[in-house]
Amino acid sequence: MADLVSYVVRKVLLAIPVILLATFIVFLMLYLTPGDPIVAIAPPHASQAELQELREKYGFNEPFVLQYGKFLWRLLHGDLGQSVARATLNLQVSTLLLQRLPRTLELMGIGLTLSYSIGIPLGVFSALRQNTWKDRSVMVFTLVAYAMPSFWLGILLMLLFSVYLGWILVQGTVGGLTSIILPALTLGLGNAALTTRMMRSSMLEVTRQDYITQLRSRGLPEREVIFKHALRNAILPVITVIGLDIGWFVAGAVVVETVFSWPGLGMLITTSITNHDFPAVQGCILVLAIFVVLGNLMADILYAFVDPRVRLG
């Protein structure tokens, strides 16, 4: 147990520089904008005096390192600046983020669930029928689903379900649960393909092991061998990477939310970029990046929990 604790502590400490890098990149973004950085975070049509005031407030006259320090200090207090878009002028970016966050979590949660409920059974199915045409078609499906850019998949699903079949309300959240299905499926399909592949190879590996042969030779029904004994072991490596999927979903969410006008963080990034609402863009990217780091951390810890060899490495 002690080695697990020290492993977790080590991993948590390693996550700190990555989060710092994220804050630095977000801070640096201001300096990468063409022209005076203060203009990027000032309300539109601000007067010279107002700009000067903002410069003083955010310390833009001070050395670079000190500015970054102040930026971090404000972050620690939850201050991400104020929105400069017309619709949400002077609203705290943190408030804006908190409003949108539940929507993204909802989408990611359902997307993850969908991708596992498609990927795991499909992978098992494919492994049990290795090298048959059924297996091959599943593999072709995973190749295509993995290569499919999520925005195009979203467009195709919209076309199929709402335009041709007239089933589900297309955009936004008006339809409640029914309107989340398409975006969640779009978000989850690429990951479902990956899960299928991983589940398949993991299952193939496990079913070749001696204890499975032994169970079969003892006369256990095949169903029991597969679902009670093999699946339990095969599913572990697939489940432990759930944290890494979060990184995949974060990137996907930005695009998918935009396609379906789903009012989460991803959509907020896109609209903020269009509205030149720079503080909001910074806030979103930071929050999403922290998500990914936490997801990776979770994967590392889960993995060590399941496989004790990792802790010592």
């Binding site: 520089p17 990555v18 890098l21 994220a22 990149i25 977000v26 640096l28 973004m29 201001l30 990468l32 904008t33 063409p34 190749l143 295509v144 993995y146 290569a147 499919m148 850019p149 999520s150 925005f151 195009w152 467009i155 195709l156 919209m158 076309l159 335009v163 990951n191 990956l194 592949r197 398949r200 190879s201 193939l204 990477v241 890494l244 999927d245 990184g247 995949w248 974060v250 990137a251 930005v254 695009v255 935009t258 396609v259 990034i269 896109t270 970029i273 269009t274 863009v281 990217i285 999403l288 990046a289 990914v292 780091v293 990776n296």
Partner: protein
């Protein structure tokens, strides 16, 4: 990018003997017997040829200056294979011209990432010690950070333009190459031929680039191929979000975005660029997957 991460881990520690030429000959020989490589390569050759020949092909102007209202949203026909868009521009010709943009951005981004990654990874792995500690730390930082988010941050800050997209993707994608190169360099530098050439008086730079690098070539090629697929996905996503290539330059991502309001009326506007985009990404993925199987038979069993 989870698949990429596992792929990269497996490519680490993979050794190929022989120099540049021998590796190239081996790749062509064995690759031509693998169906994934052949299909992937065929797709890539067709797309690249169309993209290169775009200026001389007998096609409509992708960005005509005088738009004819009667030509708007025409369905696919003999005259307009993929139909026309909401402004009356020929979609087939825009898709082909869009291929130029996508391929240019993706190739440039992969070349820059490769250069950054190879130089840093090679230096870290070859010299070891403090140099390695610092560089490997940096590589790991960027490796953990999701490439798309980083590219989005840079593209949003720099403002939309072709150069900025290339820059944004390179900055966010190089860590994979760096990691791979470092891992390879760490093992290769221990081999006897490195010691031998040092004894013969070769300097570090010479050993690094003429002895260590060629031995790491095969996994770099695999990673570069899937890298192009990733870069095309990132580029089209950025254009889709409006921070990539700017109109009137035809770009697949932006064409898809513009097609959404016309889904009911003219579904071909958003469909055809997507088909070509998917096929292109598939082509590079197939090539990468196939090459990996071909070049390293040990891995074939691992990821059927």
């Amino acid at each position: 990018m989870r698949l990429r991460k596992t792929l990269n881990d497996r490519l680490l520690g993979w050794k190929m003997s022989g120099g540049f030429r021998q590796t190239a000959v081996e790749i062509v020989e064995r690759g031509s017997r693998n169906s994934m490589v052949v299909v992937g390569m065929t797709i890539i050759i067709v797309i690249v040829a169309l993209a290169l020949l775009a200026p001389v092909l007998p096609m409509a102007d992708p960005t005509p200056s005088n738009l004819v209202p009667e030509e708007r949203t025409l369905s696919p026909s003999w005259n307009h294979w993929f139909g026309t868009d909401e402004l009356g521009r020929d979609i087939f010709s825009r898709v082909i011209w869009g291929a130029r943009v996508s391929l240019l951005v993706a190739t440039m981004a992969v070349v820059f990432s490769l250069m950054i990654g190879v130089v840093l990874g090679l230096t870290a792995g070859y010299f070891g010690g403090v140099v390695d500690y610092i560089i490997a730390g940096t590589i790991d930082l960027f490796w953990t950070f999701p490439a798309f988010l980083l590219a989005l941050a840079f593209a949003a800050a720099l403002g939309p333009s072709l150069t900025n997209v290339i820059l944004a993707i390179s900055v966010s994608y190089w860590a994979g190459f760096g990691r791979l190169m470092r891992g390879q360099a760490l093992t290769v530098r221990e081999r006897q031929f490195v010691e031998a050439s040092r004894a013969l008086g070769a300097n570090n730079i010479r050993i690094m680039f003429t002895h260590v690098l060629p031995n790491c070539l095969a996994p770099l090629i695999v990673w570069a191929s899937v890298g192009v697929a990733d870069a095309i996905t990132i580029e089209s996503s950025l254009s889709f979000l409006g921070v990539g290539t700017q109109p009137p330059t035809p770009s697949w991502g932006y064409m898809l975005y513009r097609g959404i309001p016309f889904l009911e009326e003219a579904p071909w506007i958003a469909t055809f660029p997507g088909v070509v985009l998917l096929i292109t990404i598939l082509g590079f993925n197939l090539l990468g997957d196939g090459l990996r199987d071909v070049l390293d038979p040990r891995m074939k069993g691992l990821r059927r």
